[in-house]
């Protein structure tokens, strides 16, 4: 039965994709393209492009995309459920343990070490997005996109000085780039 196959396949993806996002990509590829032939390699490439262009985790996007193409909306539901079920159980259990035992001195000192590490990881995710946005990944002068740097600075001022809503700032950044590109031609 196709619903069960989709469910189990994405259950595996959900259970073994540590590190989120791009770490999950090879696993999704092997299940969806190599093992089950639900998508061709080209379609998988399209899926990744669409995932980058839209909100939402890549695993959830893949589950919906593959599910709907193979077995319609119910296929998408089955695949998505499979994808989130492992995290739903495991993360809830860890959160419960945390709430119960966080007063313990051992856990306290582990968390004290983890907190600054988490701040660093959040900062790194920002650095990576900005490197990509500014065109710094290619390491050539021509690839640097100055208008993106300007948009970034405007956004920082809006966020820090004027305390604007982050979602408004993100959307505004998109509009600024659209206007820039229209004026350029």
């Amino acid at each position: 039965m196709i619903y069960l196959k989709l469910f189990i396949s994405f259950l595996k993806i959900g259970a073994f994709s540590f590190g989120g996002g791009y770490a999950a990509m090879p696993l999704i590829e092997s299940e969806v393209v190599s093992t089950h032939h639900w998508l061709s390699a080209a379609e998988f490439g399209d899926l990744i492009t669409i995932s980058q262009m839209t909100p939402g985790p890549i695993a959830i996007n893949s589950a919906t995309f593959v599910g709907i193409r193979i077995a319609g909306v119910f296929g998408a539901v089955a695949a998505t459920l499979g994808c989130i079920l492992p995290a739903l159980i495991l993360v809830t259990v860890i959160a419960w343990l945390y709430m119960k035992y966080r007063k313990l001195s051992m856990l306290q000192s582990i968390l004290a070490v983890l907190r600054p590490a988490v701040v660093a990881m959040i900062a790194i995710s920002g650095v990576k997005i900005l490197m990509q946005a500014f065109g710094l990944n290619e390491m050539t002068i021509e690839s640097i996109r100055l208008h993106m740097v300007v948009i970034f600075i405007v956004c920082m001022v809006l966020l820090i000085k004027y305390n604007k809503n982050p979602i408004f700032v993100m959307a505004f950044a998109g509009v600024m780039n659209l206007v820039y590109n229209i004026l350029k031609f």
């Binding site: 985790p57 995309f65 993360v91 959160a95 419960w96 590490a117 660093a120 959040i122 920002g126 700032v169």
Partner: protein
Amino acid sequence: MNKKVLINLFLSTLYLSAFTFGGGYVIVTLMKNKFVDECHWIEEDEMLDLVAIAQSAPGAIAVNGAIVVGYKLAGIIGVLVATVATVIPPFIIISIISVFYTLFRENRFIAYILDGMQAGVGAVIASVSIQMGFDIVKANRISSIIMATVFVLSLYFKINIIYIILLCIFIGVIKTLVQAGKKAV
């Protein structure tokens, strides 16, 4: 009270998930903005602990983040409410796009807006990281060193996040044992 929290949790996670362009850390940053700074439902330290939990389990950080925040605010019902709300936006968006995807992919205006949003997303993450980074630096020197070390290890040496978390746990355990030893002497 409880019903109000659930409705607010549902609407907030739904809204935040619709704007998680650029990976899971964006939603974590937006959640911190919403639940720590705006609603004051979670403390900053606790939020960092929750992010660490979200990260140490398999699955997408956005979904795991919703699970831990949901659990913290309203237990198991909170988990279900937050998870469903987080999955709905990508589910609907991908379902629609999977039908029109060639059209969507080739639309230049959409591409410009999404491209520009990267700079905005980077700015949102940067502003939150700067604020949390300052809090850490003010708190104590050891935390600042941990933050800087993790930043370098992960960004330049590309050490997997899982190993960094395990290392932090190890350091925390050693610290507790050393302190316990001192007390015994």
